[in-house]
Symmetry: C2
Amino acid sequence: MKALQKCLLVGAVAVGLTAIDTHQLSAQSQTGFFEEFGTMWTFDAPPLDYWEQTYGFRPTQDWLDHVRLASVRLPGCSSSFVSKDGLVMTNHHCARGCITAVSPPDTDYHETGFVAQSMADEKPCPGVYVDQLQSIEDVTTRVRGAVTARGAEAQVEQRDSVIQAITSECRDETGLNCQVVTLYQGGMYSLYRFERFNDVRLVMAPEGQAAFFGGDPDNFTYPRYDLDLTLYRVYVDGKPRQTDHYLKWSEKGAAENELVFITGNPGSTGRLLTLAQMEYLRDVQYPAQLAGYQRNLAVLRQVAARSEEDRRRTQNQIFGVENSYKAVSGYLSGLLDEDRMARKKIFEDDFRSRIDSDPALKAQYGGAWDAIAEAQAGVANLAAKNRYYGFGGSQLLELAGTLVQYPGQMAMPDSMRLPAFRSNQLQRLRGQLTADRAFDLELDGLNLVAQLKAAQAELSEGDPFLTAVLNGRTPEETAHSLLSGTRLGKASVRQSLLDGGIEAIEASTDPMIVAARQIAPLSAEVAERMAPLNATISANAELVGQAIFAAYGHSLPPDATFTLRITDGLVKRYPYNGTYAPYKTTLFGLYARAAEFDNEAPWQLAPLWAERRDQLDLSTPINFVSTNDIIGGNSGSPVVNQDAEVVGLVFDGNIQFLPNRFIFNSLVARTVSVHSAGIIEALRKVYDAGWIADELQGG
Amino acid sequence: MKALQKCLLVGAVAVGLTAIDTHQLSAQSQTGFFEEFGTMWTFDAPPLDYWEQTYGFRPTQDWLDHVRLASVRLPGCSSSFVSKDGLVMTNHHCARGCITAVSPPDTDYHETGFVAQSMADEKPCPGVYVDQLQSIEDVTTRVRGAVTARGAEAQVEQRDSVIQAITSECRDETGLNCQVVTLYQGGMYSLYRFERFNDVRLVMAPEGQAAFFGGDPDNFTYPRYDLDLTLYRVYVDGKPRQTDHYLKWSEKGAAENELVFITGNPGSTGRLLTLAQMEYLRDVQYPAQLAGYQRNLAVLRQVAARSEEDRRRTQNQIFGVENSYKAVSGYLSGLLDEDRMARKKIFEDDFRSRIDSDPALKAQYGGAWDAIAEAQAGVANLAAKNRYYGFGGSQLLELAGTLVQYPGQMAMPDSMRLPAFRSNQLQRLRGQLTADRAFDLELDGLNLVAQLKAAQAELSEGDPFLTAVLNGRTPEETAHSLLSGTRLGKASVRQSLLDGGIEAIEASTDPMIVAARQIAPLSAEVAERMAPLNATISANAELVGQAIFAAYGHSLPPDATFTLRITDGLVKRYPYNGTYAPYKTTLFGLYARAAEFDNEAPWQLAPLWAERRDQLDLSTPINFVSTNDIIGGNSGSPVVNQDAEVVGLVFDGNIQFLPNRFIFNSLVARTVSVHSAGIIEALRKVYDAGWIADELQGG
């Protein structure tokens, strides 16, 4: 593969450059760096030459080891050690579970915030742990070597089993938490070894209103003014963990145009997807998803319009769905961007033609793109059925569907079940089925009508699903009949159907259960037709990943895998709204935005912030932006300067960052972070938490 | 025409509604109102029914007369009487000339601001006057009746002459300033009678930095924080003018979603243009204009990169060109908006088919649209030649061109000359030709090279202009030869060429003059070919205007004519940047934006504002937005509530308002105004101008 690698690298540079900003030309042409693949570098392959050429900064191995060890992973989030006594900094939105869990019965720390008065006052967080990455080992050869079978299923089994073996051996040998990470869609396998710390305690969390000021409307946007901060402390043997590998606090934070790094765990990107996969998302999946949100919004707004009380009751749900709509619209806008897609196509066309020009490579990889495209077309053909052949729209119908499927799923071996029915999910599922809840039957009915109407519009006439469920009735009549006749709203009814097994389900005349019984076989059939298509796509995606990694190696960072990455970027203003967004915001801006919406939710000030206003230096920065490459999972990541000092705390991206999920671009996309100076100002002057600020500042 | 009118109105409603927001449906369907034509109503045809149905507000004739008389026109701007003693409120950017003129030799009031300490201290503004609209009379019948000739030229002469007659008679009879206004491209002629007040004095102007905070980058945008205010006073016979027709000051300003009106003089819109005319702007004119700005910017940025001093020196010019680029991009974006253009097309197709279905109407108007389209295609064919056959790129070449054309132009009767050479422009032109100025020859050369390269790219090979000017040389060689050899940089050389007449020009061997002599006949020839095409377009545009006015009457407001209009709208937040822009901004926001750019120009605070910060109530509103329909010329217009009280002072639109020039839409387009409360807070606490605030508030 060496010859391919070299030849492609040289050629690839020329291709990559055609669409890249000329001001970055020299660094890129020397490093073979493609902007569209982003900058989520792994710690075992930092792009030292590229950094040196671009920024004149070449971190030492000590520097890299230090920030790696200071950066720790939380379930679903990122964080970092920020004091020698084990303080861990993350986002408020990463700590909601703990904040709820440690709130006393009469108090909600989400509303009031929480500040420990001393270490003795810190509250143990049930179930929270942090993982510290100790080492990375390339195990590609061993994994690949173990996969000798020809059939795809047997290959999967062999791979799972060798990965299992590597993981267990590692755990036995080191006592660490071990994970084999699949990079480049299978182009590389790396063994990541983590030390896990299980005693994590809550030290400080601001009010939810200060952490999430602006709520869902301001989410995914900048300028922002959020103190999205929580401080934990890690204890070992009942004592604060002592460490030298913590990030010191920067005195001033970052200046405009300063180089900063972010270390954290990006969850998932799709930058190695083929053009056909992106087109499927663009043309089929995302438009359908957005249409679903719109249906849901239309129903919610109809309910909201009934009365002022209904408006208040549905407000948060509406904001929530609008927020999902915003995120998916953002992803879609990147796929609809002709320049980005042209860049992707140029890369793929060029790469494929190079593969095809070598007979050996062509035999091994050449068919992968077309195989994916063909399977993806099959998925697109089934998409409407796959979307509607189920128990969607109504919460009660969904419960009915789960009840109807339950006995059959239980009869299968664990690995063959639908994910929700696997043993590790079973307790949660049974809890959901039998919980005593109130249902808004009108809302449920409206949602079901909307779902059925969409099914009518998108499925062909005479489609078996429509025949089975509507049975000649209108969506309204159907929903009325299902909802007025069902007794599934009662937890005891669901409990007895669950306990009664297949006989109880089959004997039931509850109209929801009857409908679910008719839907279930249709749903199973479409799932069966989808399975081989998806298997083809993943097998061939692996080939594509192998070919790309073989050709470009680490000069293209792998897609996000929720493991530790380091991304470089500049603190930088950007063109927005006909003018410029500043590189930072200040506390002036927080009070401005609250006043400009007449302190109306979600822009109201937390009471303490209103009270303490005159004691604050309002020119203190609160948030700032940089060009680093992040995505969900990076929440809580530290932003550090060249001295490995904390200048910020990642918590979001601007609206223009959303399209980066598939094709990266840093012209206007920005990572949004809490500013280090804003954290200190708030701790000292709003929260009377001088002792914590002192600890952060090493005082 | 009555039958046509009725039939079209009914049909038109259905058409207009297809693309209009459903929440406005009922008001529109009852009034036949088309959102895309905007809301710049004339005072002789206020849409009372539409207002009543939409807002539940039907102003009385007294109300309308009162706000009409309180609203006065300045040269190029709008303004209003805001005290019983003749205070007039307008924008700072409408008063620049006066502010310069009244600054003492050692002081620049643009930098320091100016506040009269008492009436005695007020400074007479040379050449500034205000026009107060006394009455409007429909003179269409008389104008139409006087046009009896068949040929277009003779018709123009007849029309000019009857308009001249009407104007003189009016002046003689009333002693007022009279103007016949052509509305609906000639669909209607109205006689506007104005009382003119010539003694206007400067009372108060803030520092330019407070008035234009954010400079060109923030221009045409919102959120904004500008005190774009100047106060004048009108004197009559040396005494402040006493009047009851002034606008009282609102105590609180407008609340969100409140109905407000704006009275002022919008300068120019193109909403009655045909689709072919809009397509020409979209496909030919604006792209070429933007390319020109980009060439200019590239040159300026090249110069700016030479040194820090060059950067500072070119900074304002760069911001200025970026601002023009922003404006034209905004206009273009509206024409590129498929929804807007579809709406325009639906209207035009429907209207034309209705005209065509009546033989009499078809004979009179049916051919107008195609005639315009055909002439516009001719203009498009000539566009590249028309763009480059001239003296563009270099300032020195432009001077050479003017010198070369001068003798020939002087030999013609005034009405036949190019506009710049007509007698009313001659003094200015001669001044420009002979002024002693410094030229940046490098910048001039770079601009000329850019212009010649663009000409090479856009004109066919062997084009006579390229042959004449380049004569086989590269653009760089040509520019070098022209600039190194010319002596036109010296004012005395230009003076003697001007004084020497045609003989001096013909004898000159200055390379700039030689080149200009070669270009001049080419330029004249293309102008001659353009003239009949433009004449065809304007004659047929008049037919289109007549047909539209005959059919829809005042239910479609006429295009802007820099005469008094009243536009309705709501004070209203809007979706922006992934979230919402608030309906108002506050002084908190002013201090925020300055701090967020580290007080760097153009976001630095005026010194007095920095000094007085702690004395201000920072939650005071400073700017706000509403959905009213404005455009250049409306600057300085008052915003009034239903009680005809001042709630604001128009000074700009947001970036989304720019596309409204051609097709109006109020979903996200907003007018930006200074808030009445911010004016009072600034007068009292920043400028120590309590006596003026007292006068405004009627104290």
